[in-house]
């Protein structure tokens, strides 16, 4: 049999909301069936009466008095509930307010309130959402560094047209690297600052040229990536042209370097026309493109990244420059130990532009037919990166491919790039050593030799430690040369050497 009880607290004003909150807690108390806490105004007393909780209530209770009215299983439960209510009323005031939560901005417009004057947006969201983020950033006056891939070429064109309209850079999509006023964005190396400004439609190409400039003793004012499709016919080099204009106007830039795979002819013509009217020397590297057309426009040509860096550094520092250290390597020495039938290069690249450069170098050295038979793979290509990180971050796929090459009786040389710098793996050389040793061991068991040739794309200031990385590779018997072009050439010479001597001794 349940009981209905009340307790009146005289002159105990509480806000009705507070009272409802306490009532809800009291109602959860064991043995309590129903509870109401009210100031004893006529209206509230009517509510209590309708709830069937008013029987026996002290009739002298008035508007300044607070009543706890409840139905409980028995008197013991009711008394305990009154104590609970009294405790809650006392404690309610003392409840710690605590620090208010701070909202981390989730959108660009919110973030602009938190970082006024923001001028660059780095966007690395899934491609599905990247266009919208880039558009909002541009509309709010920010340059865009668009690392995301899977952005359609239609969206790229629209974004770049908007960028041109607003005088803003759209670096990307699928842009890996930039250095703006000495600040690295994405995958970039710690290079000295100086007078060479670069625009690149290729990420690792830009990294290679900036690192080699550093090695030659020259520095970088700006490096602006524009994404691999910028010089396609449809996009028309919108950003390379805009960036070139910017670098010509940039006070810190004395020499401009343009880097791209061979552009569409109409785009190449536009870019060279712009270069020909530039008021600063322009060095153009259209990887494997028409060097004569470049020279005809009045620009300097660099057929490899190394040559582009050397020419640009020469223009800054005064020609001629001595060649880089590390020589070119001795193909005969590397070919020792190879057996008949080992006539292939396995070029296992993490940098797409470096892979392209290797193909160009090999084509020049070996001719199209032999070069075409070589296996030069860009492991950063979409077909290898579905569902896994880029090989510059995650060495596992490349390790597998290196071990596979060790088991392939036709492979004479494994050709590698090791890319240092921000965002890359913390120890890219060390991460590949077990695979290199396993490949060597497999070849040895099979009575074959195996040459490994590599170049380091990095500087002594990169956080991975250039010297340490070099030592790790040298200790593992990897032949290191100063640039990717040299590494590709050396690999080509090894293959050529084995072919010329026929059956080795």
């Amino acid at each position: 049999m349940s009981v209905v009880r009340q307790r009146v607290f005289r002159n105990a004003y509480r806000d009705s909301v507070e009272l409802m909150r306490i009532a809800a807690e009291v109602e959860r108390f064991p043995g309590v069936i129903r509870a109401g806490l009210v100031m004893c105004t006529p209206a509230n007393l009517a509510i209590v009466a309708e709830a069937g909780l008013s029987e026996g209530l002290d009739p002298t209770a008035g508007p300044n008095d607070m009543a706890v009215a409840l139905a409980a299983d028995d008197d013991t439960a009711a008394d305990a509930a009154f104590e609970r209510a009294a405790t809650l009323m006392r404690g309610a005031a003392a409840e710690a307010a605590g620090e208010g939560q701070r909202f981390v901005p989730t959108t660009i417009s919110e973030a602009l309130a938190d970082l006024p004057g923001a001028n660059v947006a780095l966007i690395s969201t899934p491609g599905t959402y990247a266009t919208a983020e880039a558009m909002k950033a541009l509309k709010r006056g920010l340059h865009v560094f668009l690392f995301s891939d899977n952005v359609s070429i239609e969206d790229e064109i629209e974004l770049k047209q908007l960028g041109v309209l607003k005088g803003l850079l759209v670096m990307g999509p699928d842009c890996g690297t930039a250095i703006l006023d000495g600040v690295p964005l994405g995958f970039a190396n710690e290079v000295r600052r100086g007078g060479v400004g670069l625009v690149g439609a290729s990420g690792t190409g830009l990294q290679q040229v900036t690192c080699l400039l550093d090695a030659f003793g020259a520095g970088v004012s700006q490096a602006i990536g524009v994404g691999g499709r910028d010089l396609h016919e449809e996009v028309g080099g919108l950003m390379m042209l805009a960036a070139l204009e910017r670098l010509v106007a940039d006070q810190g830039t004395e020499v401009v370097v343009l880097v791209s795979k061979p552009p569409a002819p109409s785009v190449a013509a536009k870019v060279l026309a712009a270069a020909s009217t530039a008021t600063k020397p322009v060095v153009v590297n259209f990887l494997g493109g028409d060097a004569e057309a470049i020279r005809a426009s009045g620009a300097h040509a660099g057929t490899t990244f190394e040559e582009a860096a050397q020419v640009a550094a020469g223009l800054i520092l005064g020609s001629p420059l001595p060649p880089l250290e590390d020589g070119h390597g001795n193909p005969a020495e590397l070919a020792a130990g190879l057996v008949p039938g080992q006539d292939r290069i396995a070029g296992l690249y993490s940098g797409g532009s470096l892979a392209s450069e290797a193909k160009v170098v090999l084509k020049g050295l070996l001719g199209a037919e032999v070069a075409g038979a070589q296996q030069i793979i860009d492991l950063g290509d979409d077909e290898y990166t579905v569902g896994r990180p880029h090989p510059m971050i995650d060495p596992r796929l490349r390790s597998e491919k290196i071990e596979e090459a060790g088991g392939d009786s036709r492979v004479a040389v494994i050709l590698l790039d090791i890319v240092l710098g921000y965002a890359s793996h913390p120890d890219p050389a060390g991460a590949l050593i077990p695979a290199i040793e396993a490949a060597r061991e497999a070849a040895r068991r099979d009575g074959r030799g195996l040459a490994v040739v590599a170049s380091l794309c990095g500087t002594v200031h990169d956080l991975q430690g250039f010297v340490g990385q070099r030592a790790i590779l040298a200790d593992a018997g990897v032949r290191l040369v100063a640039s990717n072009a040299r590494a590709a050439r050396l690999a080509g010479l090894v293959v050529q050497h084995t072919a010329m001597r026929g059956v080795p001794a």
Partner: protein, 474 residues
């Protein structure tokens, strides 16, 4: 190359921020997530509507919003009179009743609204029994329309009939007027669908004595500045929606001397007694003031500013300044809250009333920081109260300097809800609300906090985008 060096926002991979800050440049990591609930197409629409002086669409939206906001912040709502609704409200003619929320037919009305309609028909003498009233309502003899279509707002069922006295509020900046019935207090009241004799008796007293008494007092006092009262009340623990005790007291203090001088003693005593016992009397004035301010901001082509949020117990509806008189609706839910003894969520009607006009205007739930007591409705702390307001800054374009919030360093209340921000961030406007019993006549059974459904804002934004010929908008 960049005027002040690199200052970067990092959207996506958090690691990209490290080299930037290592190089000594400023960088801010966003807590990014796919916008617009991962609806890429809708997210793109928001991007195309983003402010941009160099882009035709972006410039149109930015300019329109500036105009709407200036009108909203510049509004000066004054209480000027109390008059019968049929005389004061344009278009309220013949056998017509107004109700809260987006338009709705009798067939779809919820219990409390039907109860209020029956009560109004009895009160007007158009029916003499509830059964007769219901027959009238079912037939085609009574016209129903939304309060919002007539410059009016009503809490809960919001039913307005021609004989009911309404407050007349004038925005002296733009000259537009708004209207609201007189608040009946708690307990059995028409707005919760009650229509027994006590309810009708009170309405008759409103009509015959209280309304005329207030009108005479106002004539002597002159217009009363409602914005100023709300501004003061926000510093006294009110938020202008669910807590009105301070504003009611301030209003009564202004009215009492002239009321006593201009009314018969019996009327003055009755009026002051009623006001003393009704902490929510100012709510209807607060709502009318907000309506007068927002109506001034309504109708600016291209503006994404929300000018009405309202519920009729079935649908939740919003209007944008730039989309004219169209309503964008979604089913309305039951608020999260606390209940009077003996009631629970199973008794609750889905959310109801035009009172969300206060939140639309930047007070109510948006000014929760001013009224920590309110947050107890959902078992929150004083810190939670601040956070409700902080969260609303994320979806509003302005801070109203007239409504300073002491706990936030006297920051202005978050004002001017931008449908773009709501859709992009997914932050739902917070609404303080009373909870009505789902059966007519039972009345209020609790109070709590509701959130506006996102799809209304998305639909409104799509319609606005189509008007502006945004690519991809239909």
């Amino acid at each position: 190359m960049l005027a002040n060096g690199v200052r970067a926002l990092n959207i996506g991979l958090a690691g990209f921020a490290e080299p930037i800050s290592a190089a000594g440049a400023a960088v801010l990591n966003l807590d990014w997530r796919p916008p617009a609930g991962a609806d890429a197409e809708l997210g793109m629409l928001v991007a195309r509507l983003e402010d941009d002086p160099d882009d035709a669409i972006g410039a149109a939206v930015a300019t329109a919003n500036r105009t709407a906001l200036d009108r909203l912040l510049g509004a000066s709502p004054f209480l000027i009179d109390v008059q019968p609704a049929g005389d004061a409200i344009p278009g309220l003619q013949g056998r017509m009743l107004l109700h809260s929320g987006p338009p709705i037919s009798w067939e779809r009305m919820c219990g409390p609204m039907r109860g209020a309609i029956i009560g109004a028909l009895l009160f007007e003498g158009w029916a003499s029994t509830p059964e007769e009233a219901e027959r009238l309502a079912v037939g085609n003899e009574i016209a129903f329309d939304a309060c919002h279509h007539h410059g009016a707002v009503g809490p809960m069922a919001g039913v307005v009939s021609p004989s009911m006295p309404v407050v007349v509020v004038e925005n002296t900046t733009a000259g537009n007027r708004s209207f609201a019935t007189l608040n009946e207090g708690l307990g059995k009241v028409l707005r919760f669908g009650a229509y027994d004799d006590s309810v009708l008796e009170r309405l008759r007293w409103f009509r015959d004595a209280f309304g005329p008494t207030l009108s005479r007092a106002l004539e002597a006092t002159g217009p009363i500045d409602l914005k100023s009262i709300t501004g003061q009340a926000l510093q006294m623990g009110d938020e202008g929606h669910n807590r009105n005790v301070a504003a009611t007291s301030l209003l009564v203090r202004s009215l009492a001397p002239t009321l006593v001088r201009t009314a018969r003693e019996v009327d003055a005593v009755a009026a002051l007694d009623f006001l003393r016992g009704n902490d929510h009397f100012f709510l209807n004035l607060s709502m009318a003031a907000c309506k007068a301010s927002l109506d001034a901001a309504h109708g600016v082509p291209g503006s994404t500013v929300v000018t009405a949020m309202s519920r009729n117990g079935v649908d939740f509806g919003v209007r944008l300044s730039g989309t004219g008189n169209a309503w964008y609706t979604a089913p309305v839910g039951v608020p999260d809250g606390l209940y009077f003894p003996g009631y629970g969520p199973e008794d609750a009607n889905p959310d109801l009333g035009d009172s969300a006009i206060t939140e639309t205007c930047g007070i109510g739930g948006f000014a929760m920081a001013a009224a920590p007591a309110i947050v107890r409705f959902v078992g929150g702390t004083a810190a939670d109260a601040l956070n409700y307001t902080r969260e609303m800054y994320r979806i509003t374009l302005e801070r109203n300097p007239a409504f300073a919030l002491p706990p936030l360093g006297f920051a202005g209340s978050p004002t001017g809800i931008d449908a773009r921000r709501v859709v992009e961030s997914g932050v739902q406007p917070v609404i303080n609300t009373g909870i009505a019993h789902k059966l007519p006549g039972v009345g209020q059974i609790g109070a709590g906090i509701a959130r506006a459904p996102l799809s209304c804002f998305a639909d409104a934004l799509r319609a606005l985008a189509a008007q502006l010929h945004v690519p991809g908008a239909t």
